[in-house]
Symmetry: C2
């Protein structure tokens, strides 16, 4: 009973926080900079990490994979809770990068540009079971890029764990339809200029 109660509490805590502090901006943007994105409530962050670890506890996850920059916090909280390393994909190659890489291209609707997503091939191998973690899921382009990187590495995919899914943008359900396990702690099914509606979740 205890962990079911824990799950209800973290989902409700996140939903309440989105309602209280989320800002709806033009272009279907939900800004949660005050507690998750640019300022991070570390008490909530630790809870989110613990909940992700619980959801995927039976999957023998060996690596958490995310994409810079705003996914790093939640991925690290999940990695700490699971005791496994976190790898983050960089959005372009830097002067610190050398050697073989796994890479793909992702189109960002927020920034209206295509960028290269890169992970050194040393960091994910065919022996890994990877959990992809991100803060937001909208159309799913970033997740699809990360899934492609996991496939290129020949690694197993445990699934995707997300803090906030904008369900009305369809990315999550399209991945679920392909048989990929996608767990989002809060799913927004409707968003207008001044209201939000969450998808009821069974626990």
């Amino acid at each position: 009973m205890d962990h079911i109660l824990g799950e209800v509490i973290i989902i409700r805590a996140l939903e309440q926080r989105i309602l209280a502090e989320g800002q709806i901006l033009p272009g279907e943007v939900l800004k949660v900079g005050s507690f998750l994105n640019q300022q991070i409530d570390t008490v909530l962050l630790k809870e989110i990490g613990g909940e992700i670890a619980r959801l995927f506890s039976c999957n023998n996850v060996t690596k958490v994979l995310t994409i810079e920059a705003s996914g790093i916090a939640i991925a690290c909280a999940a990695g700490i809770a699971m005791g496994v390393p976190v790898v983050f994909a960089k959005k372009h190659s830097t002067s610190n990068l050398s050697g073989d890489v796994l890479s793909t291209e992702v189109f960002s609707y927020t920034h209206q540009q295509t960028y290269k997503v890169v992970v050194p091939s040393d960091y994910i191998s065919s022996e890994d079971t990877v959990l992809i973690v991100d803060d937001f899921l909208a159309k799913g382009n970033a997740l699809k890029g990360l899934i492609e990187i996991v496939e290129k590495a020949g690694a197993g995919l445990a699934g995707c764990a997300i803090a906030i899914e904008k369900g009305f943008q369809g990315g999550g359900d399209s991945l679920r339809a392909k048989g990929i396990r996608v767990e989002s702690l809060a799913i927004i099914d409707k968003m207008t200029d001044d209201s939000l509606e969450f998808r009821p979740q069974s626990v």
Copy 2:
């Protein structure tokens, strides 16, 4: 005795890891991507966060401030250990950013360019005592920018906590000479193409 022993262990663990896995690249670059930078050993990360919390436990820190992207992991580990929010400065304004901001300019030697560092002014106030956290300290330009942001906010500065300081590049000692408390878990005083020398640290 216990926490002193803990400090020795974490400093030694980090130094040993740098010696075993760090790669020295041209331009005085030390790459620690395999355990701290792009792939993150979350067991080590949690220890680093706990050690930073211990070092600044008497300072009534209310906020941890870092800069995207590679500082986020260590800042979150420290913020979780201290139970205080983490704020990260962004390297350029994005379409998700609105309202009043605290900003400054920083020159990056790694990327040979000047970028704008931005924090929404809501996230740091004159009532805050800020601990600045970053993964690396070299010439200190990023830290100086973050210190300027803390000053612009009228907040107090507890100091700076760093995982790896390249002592031979002088940034840390120049800040210490100004009376700013800078704690680095590992300080490299000499770096050649194939060797590293750490500064002995009293515990």
